[in-house]
Symmetry: C2
Subunit: 230 residues, 2 copies
């Protein structure tokens, strides 16, 4: 009985973590917080939930030690507790995508099939930056860029793409990345750029995956969470 109870408590601990993540809304929150910290109100706005509901979802995640919070003035900023969260999300994505055709259906429906081109792997990117003539665009909101970005990448939030169109040299390959493999920001940005005659490629994955690979990131220490997302 002793051992039985201990064994149950043991597996229970892992099940608790899984249970905290087993909710569409909370996964959406975690994907967002994988980019950078956000205050409750903004999380609520982005996910389309009420403040109260968002707060309670965040409590669930906090109790499972999956997210952490930091109070600043009247605001409470939440962020993922560690890169391990991104790792778990990545595993979950891989396992689900490989097995559930439905996901790709939804992807091609919601994330309209803008980028028909083969995405660029991180190895390819690193290699091509050596031989030069590559411009890397980070098309996420500026606060996410500020938190962590690929060294040398330029911050151009999706809304400002039009503005920079003619400032970029047409001789360079334009590589854009955003939040992750299912994020639409980069494909949308590249659609605009390629319509203007640029040679473009999308980076296969986003910031969290880049960090998981142990690749270097650059940070802008200051401005925390001003801009916003959709």
């Amino acid at each position: 009985m002793e051992a039985r109870e201990a064994k149950d408590r043991f597996y229970e601990a892992f099940a608790n973590t899984a249970r905290a993540i087993a909710s569409p809304k909370r996964i959406e929150i975690l994907e967002l917080l994988a980019q950078t910290e956000y205050p409750v109100e903004e999380i609520a706005r982005i996910t389309g939930m009420t403040i109260a509901n968002t707060s309670s979802h965040l409590q669930v995640l906090k109790q499972a030690k999956i997210v952490e919070s930091r109070k600043q003035g009247t605001k409470v900023f939440y962020q993922n507790a560690s890169l391990g969260v991104s790792d778990l999300l990545a595993s979950l994505r891989t396992l689900t995508r490989a097995r559930v055709a439905e996901v790709d259906q939804v992807v091609s429906e919601y994330f309209t099939a803008r980028d028909s081109f083969e995405p660029l792997s991180h190895e390819e990117l690193l290699q091509r930056t050596k031989t030069g003539d590559v411009i890397i665009l980070d098309v996420r909101p500026t606060n996410e860029y500020a938190h962590a970005h690929i060294p040398g990448a330029i911050s151009v939030p999706l809304g400002e793409i039009e503005a920079v169109v003619d400032t970029l040299p047409k001789s360079s390959l334009i590589v854009a990345y955003c939040r992750g493999p299912f994020c639409v920001l980069a494909p949308q940005a590249l659609e605009i750029l390629s319509a203007h005659g640029y040679e473009t490629r999308r980076l296969a994955s986003g910031m969290p995956e880049w960090q998981l690979l142990g690749l270097p990131v650059e940070t802008n220490e200051h401005s925390s969470t001003q801009a916003n997302a959709g």
Copy 2:
């Protein structure tokens, strides 16, 4: 509304996978099936559940495409659908362990603190096998060994450790591994061996983790699932 529904369905797919895993019993099953395939009856016996209950847990996992089944005679063998399952379990373990002190408490209680020695990393093992004088023991049940094992490893199920004690040269380092980082088989085996004066080390992780690293495995094509586990 269209986009809203698509987004919800999208995250729902991942949440479904997570929900299927968010159960202590099912995690226990998955950890077992990460070793090799097992028939329902044996899974029930090992986990201490009724056949009916085990079957229904397996249906949940099967519907989520996390496990697959194969019918042979009157038996139905289940196995994990891919290494992605082990990957997800590993992420879940890491995230939970790092954040929940409780896990380590339970570990040190249930998995009694037999191995006080620093576990051996796979890099160290590979390095030491080059310089020779290392014997690798796979102390899992023989069917799990047959399914996949470290090249050169000798199969010595825990129950047969005593029998081989004096056949192993004392000049060699004895390295044992089993199912994973929380598996007790190897520590128990090593306790016996070190009591007999052997120099012993435990491999830090088990077969699934070894495979996740892309390291080579050896297989004995035949005998499927005869021996058993506890």
